[in-house]
Symmetry: C2
Subunit: 244 residues, 2 copies
Amino acid sequence: MTIQRPKTIVEQVALELRQRISRQTYPPGSRLPSESDLAAELGVSRTTVRTVLARFASEGLIFRKQGDGTYVNERLEEVDGHYGRTWDFSRLIAANGFKPTITTISIEARQITPVESEALQTSSDSDIISMERLFHANGRPVIYTTNIFPVQLFKSTIAALDGTLPIHKMMQLYCVEQIAYVITDINAAIIGKRQQEILRRNDDGPLLALHETFYSRTHLPLTLGHSLYDHKTLKLRLVQPWES
Amino acid sequence: MTIQRPKTIVEQVALELRQRISRQTYPPGSRLPSESDLAAELGVSRTTVRTVLARFASEGLIFRKQGDGTYVNERLEEVDGHYGRTWDFSRLIAANGFKPTITTISIEARQITPVESEALQTSSDSDIISMERLFHANGRPVIYTTNIFPVQLFKSTIAALDGTLPIHKMMQLYCVEQIAYVITDINAAIIGKRQQEILRRNDDGPLLALHETFYSRTHLPLTLGHSLYDHKTLKLRLVQPWES
DNA sequence: TAGTGGTCTAGACCACCCT
DNA sequence: GGGTGGTCTAGACCACTAC
């Protein structure tokens, strides 16, 4: 284990143990070596190992039993990739067993609407970039999403935008501010004709509508997202540890 | 039952700091004392303080800036009670600013169906308790929920069941096994006439349908829940910290 | 009783931000 | 330079479980 990929020791240990679990060196249901043994083997302190195991436990990857040991979750496949982290659509699609692709429907600059101006806490005469995109699972459209960004957020011109990137990649590459947290409101909605055609849906059942607001570290709303989510193809699943 | 409030030092510190934040001793947007100062004042190690602050940060309650300080989230009201912890319906209703009440529609014993038997991984001829309940916000029905439990889970007879308790309280009081984690699938659904009447809804718009499976520490599915959630009255909101 | 995870401490060094 | 949070260590003691 000489890989220096991740910066911190905790991250290196996390990567190593995550691999051992996913490669079934520690298969589902099995007991991990004790914290002390792992610490000794990896040459780190027990505290460091515990930090990693605590994170895994909160993701539902493992379960710890005092006086007994630490066990790999038997339902790994159901749990992996669904907890804690932000809902990254590409990862969600992958977690459901499909190959994700992103296509851009449109990218355009336009005036902000009063509603959007309110939500973004910005002046009502500024311009925004509006971006319509489609996420596919094995080529089949499953998520239709619209994002808007204030123009002053961008480092470069919008001509250079690559709409096939995940949103956090785009922000990293093109924007002056980075995302710290997301607040998502979950709704159910009947969709219109145009959206139905875009998503190539035959039945007219309801879809999930996600309203996302992306915030900076300083609590400034950076971007808005509005996504229609085909829950029949793609499970929207949450793993929540029970509080003591 | 003498309530031994928080057992551990971490819990005591967490309670104390949570109160200071919610009582606005540290108002939204303000900077907390440094970790060292807090540790000294409370008479605990810095590590203990950091454990608590890390938990708060993951809930979105505070934000930490290296080299600068720790700040209370300015959008406290929006965030509080929505992240990390399991979605306890009563708490969700309270977090939306309403007074929660629970009424029982029916509690009955019946045979398990093949689908339920599959989901609970139990034998197909066992009996279950089925419980229909209604959650109200300021007296208005907002969540209609059905839970089923295998009978062998219960310590006492079902006659003694108090259907107005939150599910974790019920499990604590009546059941031999306790809940360790929950997997929730989120769907959108059009509801039938009966359910529409129960929820006293005038429009026939779609609702959120939550499918919950409650697991024990040993990964045994204990209970199933199926809930219809009026997202127009009650925000279903998620705060997700962005991964580094 | 031996071994496990759970809790907590005291202190070290670093990276970063401010002035 | 001085203070802040970020990382990590080594070791103590406790509570619990399996044998």
